[in-house]
């Protein structure tokens, strides 16, 4: 850590010294996600794209690197930083029932997922392993399976537990026939996330492993409820997602929103943690010129990082859903141009 030293000397040779330490942060990592969890190697070639988000269900037998995702191993070993979202959410058939499998010679049986999440009216509610199931130790086999594969991966990742707890809980949840409100679901999730991160941390992990919990970051009360200091002391990063979905949305406003809530509402442990933007995107329906909006992101990140509060250290563009780059070529070119700009270099 660099140190500046001030010396004040009088005419008689008497001196006083004072020091101030500071650090120069590494450049922000520009990152990416390609729809469907597809291989992004071709898209990121030639750009300063050094960070990726990936999504896996713990129900899946292939969590690390993922089924037919050898490219992730290649990218990770080449130094791309991976934010691995591990979800209790079940992505659907097959294996929607109980599972019995062996991990390193030990047999585990995990019951069928007993929770429903994302209970938006008029939709089919996805299944997930329940927070109660996690706390009862019934999902330990899923964790053991993921850990065994992770140890063979060859590089450390940030494990983000859940994709967006706010999206999962927004309309309440239910587990084993009992309904829980949004706030109750948040409280239960904090307990379950604490259980999972403690479970991992109690075991040998690849050096450099870090943890975070996933939130969209669109609801201030939920963001506060899901980031108690007791949990943050077990985590290494803050995280939220950023989308521009209205014509008047600016990059500075959108990246700032959740950050400002964090600075106002969270404790010192949480605010000491750097921030991973696991997803950011520009919705083309409202903002047809995605490239122009993307070009404003570096200055916004630089400005926010110059302010008091947690530093944003990775921003992963979500080229899917709301963030789909359309047309793709100019959007991708704008992204690479942005990532070639301070504070990304």
């Amino acid at each position: 850590m660099p140190r500046v030293t001030v010396t004040v000397r009088d005419s008689g040779g008497r001196t006083a010294t004072a020091t101030a330490d500071y650090s120069i942060a590494a450049p922000v990592l520009g990152g990416y996600y390609l729809s469907g969890g597809a291989d992004p190697t071709a898209d990121i070639a030639g750009g300063n794209i050094r960070s990726l988000t990936q999504y896996r269900s713990l129900a899946d037998g292939y969590v690390f690197p993922g089924y037919q995702k050898q490219w992730l191993t290649t990218l990770g070993r080449s130094g791309v930083q991976v934010n691995m979202v591990l979800e209790l959410k079940h992505y659907g058939a097959p294996n929607a029932g109980p599972q019995t499998f062996a991990v390193d010679g030990t047999s585990y049986t995990v019951p069928a997922p007993a929770m429903t999440i994302q209970q938006r009216p008029g939709t089919t509610w996805p299944k997930a392993y329940g927070y109660g199931q996690v706390l009862a130790g019934q999902c330990d086999g899923l964790l053991a399976r993921a850990l065994s594969q992770y140890r063979a991966l060859g590089f450390p990742v940030n494990i983000q537990l859940a994709s967006e707890l706010d999206t999962d809980h927004e309309f309440g949840t239910s587990e084993a026939g009992r309904a829980y409100t949004w706030a109750e679901s948040d409280a239960r999730a904090v307990q379950a996330m604490t259980y999972i991160v403690n479970w991992f941390r109690a075991r040998s992990l690849p050096a450099g492993t870090t943890f975070s919990v996933g939130v969209g970051g669109f609801d201030r009360a939920c963001f506060q409820r899901t980031h108690p200091e007791s949990l943050m002391s077990r985590l290494d990063h803050l995280q939220w997602n950023v989308y521009a979905t209205a014509a008047n949305h600016t990059a500075l406003d959108r990246f700032r929103r959740t950050r400002d809530w964090a600075v106002a509402d969270l404790g010192p442990v949480a605010l000491s943690r750097p921030v991973i933007i696991a997803e950011w995107g520009v919705r083309v329906a409202e903002i047809p010129n995605q490239a122009a909006w993307i070009a404003t992101v570096p200055a916004a990140i630089a400005k926010l990082n110059a302010e008091r509060g947690p530093r944003i250290v990775r921003t992963n563009y979500f080229n899917s859903g709301w963030g789909t780059l359309s047309p793709k070529a100019p959007g991708l070119a704008a992204l690479k141009s942005a990532y070639a700009t301070r504070p990304y270099v």
Binding site: P2, R3, V4, R9, D10, T15, T17, A306
Partner: protein, 89 residues
């Protein structure tokens, strides 16, 4: 003679490469006194010159700033009690 005092404060603890960094130095010494010397020259006939005033400082202080990373700090201002320096991260 008293010893001088000094404090050093940066405007942030972490910077991104290229950021402007500001260092504020507050310093002083109980002995340091500004004064004004007024000189009047008088000849043998009693003719006196107009008075000339000169400012002086008893026990003046010098401030030096060093950085162990080799970064150079430029002085922007110094009023004798507070000095402000700038560098680029």
């Amino acid at each position: 003679m008293a010893a001088p005092t000094a404090t050093a404060t940066l405007n942030a603890s972490t910077y991104s490469s290229g950021d402007q960094m500001t260092l504020t130095v507050t310093y002083g010494d109980a002995d340091t006194r500004p004064l004004t010397v007024t000189i009047v020259v008088t000849d043998a006939q009693g003719n006196s010159s107009a008075p000339v005033r000169v400012a002086a400082v008893i026990d003046p202080l010098t401030v030096t700033v060093t950085d162990d990373s080799g970064r150079s700090w430029a002085r922007l201002s110094d009023n004798g009690a507070v000095a402000v320096y700038r560098a680029v991260a």
